[in-house]
């Protein structure tokens, strides 16, 4: 005679069941949920619906997770080791598939086809992960140009591989060509003033002797080395770019 017990069901309602069924249900829930549970006692093994399977393409997804962790756009170091391992795995899969395909064609073993499809899916997955990894890094490097300007800090430069550096230089050149082509004769620097400026006038310090400088209302200012002035922003921008004036942020 099995003992009766009171338990709560899925909807948190009390129901009466036998102890044996209650115990088996608990284990069923427990084992079913923990797919990574290593040791299942023999008498309960029939309750586990799934076996423990390893899979290909784990290293590739690790690369993606590395990038996904840095959601704010920082560039981590280039994981050359990781990429090399993924490429090696792809090579091994491809070679196994080649032999299987030849065997299937010559000896007509069509039962090998599911395995061939399996490996092919793994190859496509690895390819996707690597492509997405490289592409996302390029998006981050592109953002660096807008954030830091033409010259990157050395710490960031060490995180880029040679090809990425090359890409960055090409991107800088394209951007510069574009900026020269708009806004009239001198071009327009669109990487300045990314946020609307707070004030119309800014405090500037003169870095070298520039002589006389006329502003819109007719006043003439003498720009002597180390003199400080309070001038309209749009007039100063070009001189700041040339290095004659320096914006003083107090």
């Amino acid at each position: 005679m099995s003992l009766l017990t009171l338990r709560r069901n899925f909807f948190n309602v009390h129901v009466i069941t036998t102890t044996k069924i209650y115990r088996e249900n608990c284990l069923r829930w427990y084992i079913g949920d923990l797919a990574s549970y290593d040791f299942i006692p023999k008498k309960y093994r029939h309750l586990s619906a799934t076996n423990k399977f390893t899979m290909f393409c784990e290293k590739a997804v690790e690369l993606i997770r590395e990038l996904h962790r840095m959601g704010d756009g920082q560039l981590p170091a280039f994981n050359e080791d990781g990429i090399r391992q993924v490429l090696e795995e792809m090579k091994a899969l491809y070679e196994q598939n080649q032999t299987d395909v030849n065997e299937a064609k010559t000896e007509g073993k069509s039962e090998l086809i599911p395995s061939i499809k399996f490996r092919h899916s793994c190859l496509l997955r690895n390819q996707r992960c690597i492509a997405a990894y490289l592409y996302d890094r390029l998006l981050r490097i592109r953002a660096l140009r807008w954030e830091y300007g033409s010259v990157l800090p050395t710490t960031i430069r060490f995180h880029m591989c040679a090809e990425e550096m090359e890409w960055f230089n090409q991107y800088k050149k394209s951007l510069a060509t574009y900026m020269r082509s708009i806004g009239g004769e001198e071009g327009l620097d669109i990487t300045q003033d990314m946020k609307p400026p707070k004030s119309l006038y800014i405090e500037v310090r003169c870095l070298k002797d520039h002589g006389e400088f006329e502003i819109d209302d007719g006043t003439v200012i003498l720009l002597k080395k180390n003199s400080q002035h309070f001038l309209p922003r749009w007039k100063c921008e070009q001189l700041i770019r040339q290095g004659v004036l320096e914006h003083v942020i107090s």
Binding site: T54, M55, G73, D136
Partner: protein
């Protein structure tokens, strides 16, 4: 780092995945319970406890979504995919009753994304699954947006823990814009 300069590839809409999207790659890494309908010769080494050379027919295993999508065929020659627990009848009634209470992060952090991808597998329950996902989102949407508007003034981390990834990114975007507006005002 100025968040506006870095624009990652967003996840796909509906049943599509974006090839380069990091979110979609992590989403398709989730495992689904499957049953093989044909044997896979020479792949036995993948199963840790077995000594056979092949994966026999009728094995129950958990396959990642990308593999299940790659191997699945309409005629079911190779694979049959079972629905994960969250999309089955019992849980559908729970979501129908009250979607706000459920801890979606614990139920698999990609509830909406994985649900949309499950529709690829031609289950007879597809219309119900699609409807449930939609109704769940509608039910929870208001609470999510409400909390993100108030996140500036109070700590909403307890609520954020129960959101799935789609809702979290939605909340994050809203919070960012609320901050921008607060700064201007």
């Amino acid at each position: 780092m100025d968040l506006q300069s870095y624009m990652p590839v967003p996840p796909g809409i509906r049943m599509e995945e974006n090839f380069f999207s990091l979110d979609d790659i992590l989403l398709s890494h989730e495992r689904l319970p499957c049953r093989t309908e044909s044997a896979f010769p020479r792949l036995g080494f993948l199963e840790k406890s077995s000594e056979t050379r092949d994966i026999p027919e009728g094995t129950k295993m958990e396959m990642p979504l990308w593999l299940a999508k790659g191997l699945y065929e309409r005629k079911r020659q190779v694979l049959s995919v079972e629905l994960p627990k969250v999309y089955r009848e019992e849980w559908r009634t729970v979501f129908g009753a009250d979607p706000i209470v459920v801890d979606l992060h614990k139920m698999g952090p990609y509830y909406y994304g994985l649900g949309s991808q499950m529709l690829h597998f031609d289950s007879p329950e597809n219309p119900e699954i699609a409807n449930t996902i939609l109704q769940t989102f509608i039910g929870r949407f208001r609470r999510t947006m409400d909390s993100s508007q108030n996140a500036y003034n109070e700590d909403t981390s307890a609520l954020v823990e129960r959101l799935d990834c789609l809702e979290r990114s939605l909340k994050w975007v809203t919070c960012m814009y609320v901050c921008v507006i607060e700064r201007l005002v």
